[in-house]
């Protein structure tokens, strides 16, 4: 494909990212955000945020991190560290503000004992289901010192209910379940995403029926919706450059929605 098309930029709106600028305030996301903020204020050892992949957990945590980083000692570990020594070094670095990096867990506990009552660190762990059992045990012990408060996110799986795990049962005082967007939220999400990037014209091309069709395919999952719309505008991009006569620039093409669904496997054709 060659040449320039406005759809090339439109499709980039829907790239999967957890950038703070991509956070869209919806009824549900605002509710979850406030819930987490309130939970942080409480004297909890651990806060669990769980939900299916693509429900906006990571971006919510990123938003919280950015909003609180000026006022609190908050740290966001986006990429899980599965090596125990590296994890210990990271924690010790957080506790000593980079002065000491040790992989000796006993020493870290000692530091925590010293800091108890004087300092409280907030550590956000994304994708916590990836952490090994031994690291999870370390997290449990660290949270018991009440010097480190963990906010962890987990994927809700059908085979393994992390919330039910023994090490979390006694410690989690707050668990927040993130759900997929409702139809109304999904519509707002798409509209706001496009408007935030000044694609007003494109935003206006979406009808209720188009949104409903996309919702039927993605079930209101943000990640799936992003993927869907990216693919859809990628097809638009192709037609805009190669066969512009096939595009109605006043409304979203049902054909292109269905083509995107076929490409992503939502429709078996």
């Amino acid at each position: 494909m060659s040449g320039k098309s406005r759809y090339e930029k439109v499709k980039l709106v829907f790239t999967d990212s957890i950038e703070i600028t991509d956070f869209i305030r919806l009824d549900n996301s605002s509710l979850f955000y406030n819930q987490v903020i309130e939970s942080i204020k409480k004297p909890l050892k651990m806060i669990l945020i769980y939900g299916e992949p693509g429900t906006g957990k990571s971006i919510l945590l990123n938003k919280i991190y950015h909003d609180l980083k000026e006022d609190r000692d908050i740290h966001f570990i986006q990429t899980p560290i599965n090596d125990e020594k590296k994890f210990n070094k990271k924690i010790s670095s957080i506790l000593t503000r980079g002065v000491l990096e040790t992989d000796n867990f006993s020493k870290i506990i000692e530091i925590c004992q010293k800091l108890k009552g004087h300092k409280e660190y907030l550590v956000i762990l994304d994708e916590a289901q990836i952490y090994s059992e031994s690291i999870m045990e370390s997290i449990r012990l660290l949270s018991d010192t009440r010097v480190v408060k963990f906010i962890i996110t987990l994927h809700k799986t059908t085979t393994e209910d992390i919330v039910a795990k023994e090490q979390f049962k006694t410690r989690i005082w707050e668990s927040i379940y993130l759900k997929n967007a409702s139809l109304e939220d999904l519509e707002k999400y798409i509209q706001k995403k496009l408007i935030n990037k000044n694609f007003y014209e494109i935003a206006n091309q979406f009808s209720q029926k188009d949104i409903l069709k996309i919702y039927d395919f993605t079930n209101g999952n943000f990640r799936e919706t992003n993927k869907f719309l990216y693919t859809m505008f990628d097809i638009y991009h192709y037609y805009d450059i190669n066969q512009p006569s096939k595009i109605n620039y006043n409304k979203i093409s049902k054909k292109i929605i269905e083509m995107a669904a076929i490409k992503l496997g939502y429709i078996d054709a």
């Binding site: 097809i235 192709y238 190669n242 269905e258 083509m259 429709i267 054709a269």
Partner: protein, 263 residues
Amino acid sequence: MHEIVELEKRWLRYKLKKLIFPLSILAIIFIAALLFLFIDFSKFYPSNESQSNNETVVIKKIEQHIDADVQVESTKNRQPIQPQIAVQNRQVILQAYEPKINLSNETTQEKENQSIQEENIVLDKSLQHQTDSKKAQAPQKNSKAVLNTSESKSNNLDIFTRSENEMDPRMIEQRFNETNNVRYAIFLAKYYYDSKDYEKSYRWAFTVNQLDPISEEGWLFFAKSLYKLDRKDDAVKVLKNYLNHYRSQAAQDTLRQIIQGVL
């Protein structure tokens, strides 16, 4: 680029697949509507099938009444005569008429005259035979028997009459050919007489007389048909001959009407 072209082809296939289902439903609805219309029209223009069904119902009715008739006859007045004499008479008649049993060939006047003569002979024979064998029986009882038989049979014929409009006589003829039951022949004689087809009525009455020479209805329709075929003398002769052997009010009435020319 190639990917999008391929995707478009897949989309076209998907749309076609999606259209097949509603089109099939439409086709089914269309066919169902056509069938419905066809069934609807068939109410106004009955098909052969429905006619045949009606005929089957009528035939069943006839058969039921034949059974009932047989029961009445076997339990009432005709009981002493029926079992032995009728069988004997049939044998005599069948022997006498064997060469001329094919009714369809009898079209000429000569044949009809000949057959009348033969009928008379048979009637004489059969009646004589019965008279001989039933001398001991009281005349009044005989008359009563005939009257009772006449009543019950006329009841049956009424039922046939009710059914006549609904049926095809060809079906009854077919049934007769299959069963050789005299009641079908009586019915057909009456049917053709009422339909003013006196040739056929005559022939079927003739058949009745062959099968059951003591059948009052057979002789009455035979005489009435002859009268209608402008053979009044033959009709009178037949009835008088019958009355020589039986006291039959119906036969007397018919004879009087024929003589007076008011039939």
